[in-house]
Point group: D2
Chain length 336, copies 4
Amino acid sequence: MLKLGIIGAGRIGQVHATSITNNVKNASVHMIADPFMNEDKIKWINELGIENITTDYKEILENKDIDAVLICSSTDTHSSISIEAARANKHIFCEKPIDHDLAKIQMVLEEVEKAGIKYQVGFNRRFDNNFKAIKDAVTEGKIGTPHIIKVTSRDPEAPGIDYVKVSGGMFLDMTIHDFDMVRYLSESEVEEVYALGGVLVNPEIGEAGDIDTAIITLKLKNGALGVIDNSREAAYGYDQRAEVFGSLGSVAISNDSGSKAVISTKDGIVSEKPLYFFLERYMQSFGEEVNQFVEAIVNDKNVPVNANDGLQPVLIGLAAKKSLEEKRPVKISEIF
Amino acid sequence: MLKLGIIGAGRIGQVHATSITNNVKNASVHMIADPFMNEDKIKWINELGIENITTDYKEILENKDIDAVLICSSTDTHSSISIEAARANKHIFCEKPIDHDLAKIQMVLEEVEKAGIKYQVGFNRRFDNNFKAIKDAVTEGKIGTPHIIKVTSRDPEAPGIDYVKVSGGMFLDMTIHDFDMVRYLSESEVEEVYALGGVLVNPEIGEAGDIDTAIITLKLKNGALGVIDNSREAAYGYDQRAEVFGSLGSVAISNDSGSKAVISTKDGIVSEKPLYFFLERYMQSFGEEVNQFVEAIVNDKNVPVNANDGLQPVLIGLAAKKSLEEKRPVKISEIF
Amino acid sequence: MLKLGIIGAGRIGQVHATSITNNVKNASVHMIADPFMNEDKIKWINELGIENITTDYKEILENKDIDAVLICSSTDTHSSISIEAARANKHIFCEKPIDHDLAKIQMVLEEVEKAGIKYQVGFNRRFDNNFKAIKDAVTEGKIGTPHIIKVTSRDPEAPGIDYVKVSGGMFLDMTIHDFDMVRYLSESEVEEVYALGGVLVNPEIGEAGDIDTAIITLKLKNGALGVIDNSREAAYGYDQRAEVFGSLGSVAISNDSGSKAVISTKDGIVSEKPLYFFLERYMQSFGEEVNQFVEAIVNDKNVPVNANDGLQPVLIGLAAKKSLEEKRPVKISEIF
Amino acid sequence: MLKLGIIGAGRIGQVHATSITNNVKNASVHMIADPFMNEDKIKWINELGIENITTDYKEILENKDIDAVLICSSTDTHSSISIEAARANKHIFCEKPIDHDLAKIQMVLEEVEKAGIKYQVGFNRRFDNNFKAIKDAVTEGKIGTPHIIKVTSRDPEAPGIDYVKVSGGMFLDMTIHDFDMVRYLSESEVEEVYALGGVLVNPEIGEAGDIDTAIITLKLKNGALGVIDNSREAAYGYDQRAEVFGSLGSVAISNDSGSKAVISTKDGIVSEKPLYFFLERYMQSFGEEVNQFVEAIVNDKNVPVNANDGLQPVLIGLAAKKSLEEKRPVKISEIF
């Protein structure tokens, strides 16, 4: 039974604590840390039966009983806590992104290697049953050699402007998942990026220096072509689809909804909207990614999403940003 | 080039005249007869380029140039005109039903045999591409031995009470198509019928002695089970579905609509309603059934829906009526 | 925190123990009893962290700490344990069916009333998100007054002959869920039943005195019509669909599958098969029904599926059996 | 009754001749011209009942009875025959593209204006019921302001190398329809194009200087973003889909197939492939575009696809070509 420490008791920390307690085998949450610990947080931590609570994550790093940590703190602390945890010889599951700063990511990679620990990055969508079904079809050769990888990724509502300002921009905040998905599905690195963006949802997002709508095309090293379309706001809810088209056919997924009910009346044939947002849509995947992280530690196997998998989408995101600014295709080699 | 005469220039006569002119090979409409010929009718007949118009169908029967007739007159004249046409040695395509009176149908069958002509009954749904796809899957053995045959058949709006009164009852007017479909898909005769009915759409239909909603179960001679559900009024339009379930799986069809467009908004995911009614839904089938009739004449082959195929659904309909009245399963052998 | 005792550590007992531990709020499993306790069972019980294990369910009944019991033992013990548990003043969640013998069910009902305890029967499908979505649409009036209730219920593979012999027959073993569903969706009692059955899957089932394929029509007290089609073996997996058709339209559900992936190749457009069987398809519902049982106890509310809801489907099942034997529609009032 | 002349009796000429004869109102084919007239062609022309046949299209232009011509000859003759026909004062329906040479298109536009005739270009997909349903949803404001326009367009099999060599390249031969579709659905002109292409289907296509796979992004003047993905060879058939995503939601179409039959077996749930190619998929649209051309003449209205609509997609195609060559986004203003 692996003992885990969770650093950060915000939304994603709560998601992991809950799914580890209920659905992850061979592991339990031994301690949880949050600098802003409050009654609400303590309440759900107690309900989950987690016994040790602290406001100082260093207590987790110093605790000899704890085998691994989940870094669920704010993005700007991911890299420094990763480095500390690696030095404390804990296995690490780090929420995405590792950092927006390449030098810091690079330092994390070095420390991880030095420490010889497992380091997994939280690209949870790979563990979603739908995306996994696409990947399986590709891996099993059902659609032949991939030619085109398409990802549609639209949020149900734009974030507040305060968040937009600190988000690192849509490409690093939102599209980063889609960049990872293209790498995952294509089994190839990206060579070049061209980004077309617009401010079509909310002009304040533009004033804050960001965009809310984009089409990004990706030239992959294996010759395949990738394309992502993003919007910060789809009126009908969270739109998460993908397709891989290849020499023998295509595999595609549609959205999951709360039920398969279809209501037919004089107004039309009406199905349910997609599940509202990532907490509804991807809950199963949050459990599964930690399950595989635990399994990798227990059986000393490779983690399914490693530190380099954390680095690459940041590179692609920075290339996309540069492409948007300079209105031209940008090679990853220009970034790193 | 076969020369055809159409008897009856009402709605179904016009459908046949149009589709023969535009879509049926090796045949043309040489003459059209209607006792209530009027300006409107003459207008569309002229537009189709049909040259000979008469108010007396006997002119068609006496015309030596005409090879075959389509009987599209009112139901109560089907059997008598069939007999006259057979005696005039014309091949006959007769709209369903041949008659509600078994003795009269019997007489038609005898005259047809005596004359040695082709006699096809207008169960057009067999020629619909969707129902045909079910049949093909069954015939090709894709679903193994059929166990259950299900037909859903619901009209978009109940007919007027005046029509209900002369319709022969829902089973002979509407369900008759579904009885034919069960025979066609199962490739078996029906042994026994149990009908459960209700007046749920319009109480006036009940006052007129009919029902508007029904579930009919059918015991087939080959051991399979059939079930039909009917309503005179589906708020969302014409609902025409079927499924054959067998030892290796099932084949089912959903409804056709005007387009494949799906609109997603905050109110849900909305597809188009089914095509409104039989003229929209089955237009292609009306051409195809006559095509095959013409082909059977030209190549002296069996017609795809013969006189016995016209008789059997009437028997089933009469058994269903008796079942409803006597609240018990009724064998076809009790009827005929 | 309610303390629960589980009587029976077989498949369904394990399902409940697992989902209570992981997904049911305000309750925990305090003790589990099984006369055939073995190492395998002890292993998963320990893994769930359940502390008290016994081979004698009476220990559970006598334990003052335990508030409520789940009866997951073999069907023939349901009624007697129910009576004992009621006398021991425990709230009861009893797996379906209470019994096949009406007198015994009646006795349970009396003891439950006398004891004033909560008694819930395990018709879990009511708690499935898909069937619930149909029910919600009906309750919210979206499809108007229900006219036709259709249930398709097909198992992925026929049970062994040994099981068939003690199952009470397909109607009481399998269709009983569908009878409950028709009552639930129609919000009406059943007045009359007509059953058509066949042995089309496996002749040994016939030799054992049972059927494996059936169509059952139901006349409901509120005037609506119900129809169920059953097969013990659908080659493509567990087929669990339903439709309610009413004056304003219809609501229907299709099957759930493991993913929404669609693979398009030269061989066709292929979606996944339905989830294999009830453990896969209905896992969420097993948690939800116990959640609502616990909530009913905690807040002293009515249970969502009461003892009468346990009785009625047995009556319908017995009427269906009699209908099949006597080849005629049978009224519920003939049974009870 | 308008009298039409058809110039070119190849595949598309035959399509038009057939649908005009059968499905276009108020017009008939008076004469048909083809320099390579042969027995096969004469046979189907006779079967359609078209009376005048010639090898010299000038006979059509000189015939005073003929009101309008359909130019269905080889692409390299479209512009010159257009000019001759305009000077002969015939209304013109010209198959796409008018020409690949902008100067020639410009000359056509001038002659058309001078002559004051109707000039329609054969972008038939606008008249397909599915694409029209998207357009209607956009026009009716159902999805709000368009943000993203997506077109998937994949052929079922790559053309022969001989054809590829004279095709003008994939963008002008195949994607041109998609360029038109983006303009039609967005109701905006294109400002800038970025094309990413590959040779993934057949290396010989690359050797011939063309590509077979592409993603093209389009910056539209109204601020919306467009994206097209193309392949010369989809193993599952002709893939013709589109989506418009806007401020209030999205509208999308899936492919049409031969039937709605779904076969469920142990191997999966299998639907039919899309209709094979454009003749199957778009037959209805070929009739409808000519219907509207005839109507525009008869009622002196604007044609639905005018000469400028013929010019613009060529400009976009040339920009896409330049983008591919120069590996950068290219503005339409750089082309024309």
